[in-house]
Amino acid sequence: MEPSLTHIKQPTIAAQDGQVTHPASPEADVPLAVSGVTVSYGEKPAVFSVDAVFPAKAMSAIIGPNGAGKSTLLKAALGVIPRLSGEVFVFGQPIEEARERIAYVPQRASVDWDFPTTVIDVVQMGLYRKVGLLGRLSGHMKARALDCLDRVGMADFAQRQIGQLSGGQQQRVFLARALAQDADLYLLDEPFAGVDAATERAIIDVLKLLKAEGKAVVAVHHDLSTVRDYFDHVFLINVRRMAEGPVETAFTTENLQATYGGRLAATHLDELSMTGGV
């Protein structure tokens, strides 16, 4: 694994003065690059002047304590919430021009699960951009939606009302909808939050398969104990960018301590990041 497009910096308190540390270069082989992104609710920034580069053909985790702006960074990059400042490039293009290459899996809790729709309808939402306003869903597309459902192990549930699903099943359906988009960059907001062990396994298998196909995956992640198993690249954030790089070099005790402050017990940290050498 060589996803090291960026050099490892020691826990930089990035851009104390609002200065951009390394402007995102719009390179075509970089799936996602954000530069100088600031998001603020009122006067207190939730994400402050963040630069980040997420590598190709890799699984990246955005990590940080609660309220550190992990999800906010993702949503701001996508334009779901407005950015106060900053630019976002997807495969070298401004994000607005590369929408069809992005698939997004929002947090499960963000929608009303009593909405009158079936599982297969939700997956087909991933095809709406391709179908357009007036087009009919062709048999080919319907088969495709069903196939995506099958990949997450939910084909038997196609005709169920979404309200009848368990939390883990809901999350799988959201992933299937993203798969239907056939994107090159997958952005997931806490995909493992509140799901059962079988679902976590199923999701990680699908994501690893995507990586093997050469796609890039970026996930907001909260479970530090699985970072080493699941991810190649980490981005540590606590309002500001704290560190980023390959898991082996950036997921270190020092970086975690800098990111989480006093909120992690030191012994716990040692277990989490027994770094090879360095």
């Binding site: 949503k75 996508l78 334009g79 779901v80 607005e96 929408r99 069809e100 992005i102 997004y104 929002p106 963000s110 929608v111 009303d112 909405f115 009158p116 729709t117 079936t118 309808d121 939700v122 939402m125 709406y128 951009r129 179908v131 306003l133 007036l134 009302q161 909808r177 988009q181 952005l187 059962d196 062990a197 079988a198």
Partner: protein, 404 residues
């Protein structure tokens, strides 16, 4: 002969027939285009928008009179009402977006202020040109007296366009109503789609003003969609069922008011819709109250049956009266509480299944299967006969002991 039947068959005169057809068309348009309003949970915005039409009616009247007209051109009045309704809508959007006030506060403020301004304008009009303003108050609660063919045509054309637009925009509107974050991430302009949806609702409101009035139009937009939700789990079908509920309500409401001329049309339409709503609330097959009660009772019976049989198997006394009654009714215990032959057999089966589940949890790694244990799902539904035979083998009986 019978005034209700005459009206129902459109035999109660030209005006009554025109009103009935117009109300049915309006009901259909309002029901279907109100679907996404309900699914997006923005029903009350439409109430504010409806109230914001009133100053537009007044201003349009004053402008037309000052230009030398008689001020009663329906097109002109509707145009005026549409303009102030749109301003009201944009104001609500702006307040919710740019101030710390929540949308409900914005709705309350806009509704009150615009309606107040409208009433003031109507009062001024009354004093400035006696006689000619007759009919403007009709916009409050609707009036069917003197409905013209041209009025019905406006409803037919406007209503058809609204239904067509709802159908064409169903995908983006579904997406935004279900998952607006995802819609935004896919590059849809959520704000524009919301405005389009409200624009549709506003158009229906404006064409329905004269017939139903601005105070009750919100009911025609929302009640059919809420009613339709009881009968289907798919948003596309909600559109058509809501349209049908609205259409039937409009027609029956108009027919009722034609057969009892002292009663107002708009309120009757709303009451008919409410009647269909209450019926659906009670009797809809899955989501209805009755269905929920039956489901709950059945579940309760299954729980008590299992509890009772386990008690029989363990030879514990059954104390709950409901459990005893249940077992007695099924012929599992006699009147004196002693288990019958079948009762003993069933109890033995349930006790054995519990032990099978224990084994299943030990040997099976697949949480997806063992996770389905709830004490009520029959083990045969989860595992194959071979697997169950395997559990029985591991469970060991007299035979297994003999094997040792």
């Amino acid at each position: 002969m019978n005034p209700f039947l005459d009206a129902l068959l459109l035999q109660a005169g030209y005006n009554a027939a025109l009103v009935a057809i117009g109300a049915a068309l309006l009901g259909f348009a309002a029901g279907s285009s109100g679907t996404f309003l309900f699914l997006r949970k923005r029903a009350l915005v439409s109430d504010a928008v409806a109230h914001a039409t009133l100053p537009g009616v007044g201003i349009a009247f004053i402008v037309m009179v000052s230009l030398g007209g008689d001020g009663r051109s329906l097109i002109g009045l509707l145009l005026g009402s549409a303009i102030t309704a749109w301003i009201g809508l944009l104001l609500i959007e702006w307040i919710a977006r740019h101030t710390r006030l929540a949308e409900d506060a914005a709705i309350g403020a806009v509704l009150g202020v615009f309606f107040g301004a409208g009433i003031v304008l109507l009062t001024i009009i009354q004093s400035m040109s006696a006689g000619r303003q007759a009919g403007l108050e009709g916009f409050l609660l609707g009036s069917t007296a003197g409905m013209l063919f041209q009025d019905a045509v406006i409803i037919a054309i406007g209503g058809s366009l609204a239904v067509l637009a709802t159908w064409l925009l169903r995908r983006p509107m579904t997406l935004v109503a279900f998952d607006s974050e995802y819609a935004a991430a896919m590059g849809y302009d959520v704000r524009r789609i919301d405005l389009l949806m409200m624009g549709l609702v506003m158009a229906v409101t404006v064409i329905g003003l004269k017939l139903v009035g601005l105070i009750l139009i919100v009911a025609m937009l929302i009640i059919p969609a809420v009613t339709a939700r009881f009968w289907t789990e798919r948003s596309n079908r909600v559109i058509w069922i809501a349209g049908a509920v609205g259409g039937v309500s409009g027609y029956l409401g108009a027919v009722l008011s034609a057969s009892a001329p002292a009663l107002p049309t708009g309120p009757l339409i709303v009451l008919v819709a409410a009647g269909i709503f209450v019926f659906s609330l009670l009797f809809a097959p899955v989501r209805g109250v009755l269905a929920a009660v039956i489901r709950h009772r059945r579940f309760q019976a299954r729980v008590h049956r299992r509890q009772g049989l386990l008690a029989l198997a363990a030879q514990h006394p059954i104390r709950e009266a409901y459990t005893l009654r249940l077992l007695r009714r099924e012929g599992l215990v006699r009147a004196d509480g002693v288990p019958t032959e079948t009762g003993r057999a069933q109890a033995a089966k349930i006790a054995r299944d519990e032990r099978r589940w224990d084994i299943a949890r030990e040997v099976h790694q697949d949480v997806g299967l063992t996770g389905r244990y709830d004490g009520l799902t029959p083990i045969e539904d989860v595992f194959t006969a071979d697997e169950i035979a395997d559990f029985d083998h591991r469970l060991g009986g007299p035979i297994a002991v003999g094997d040792l």
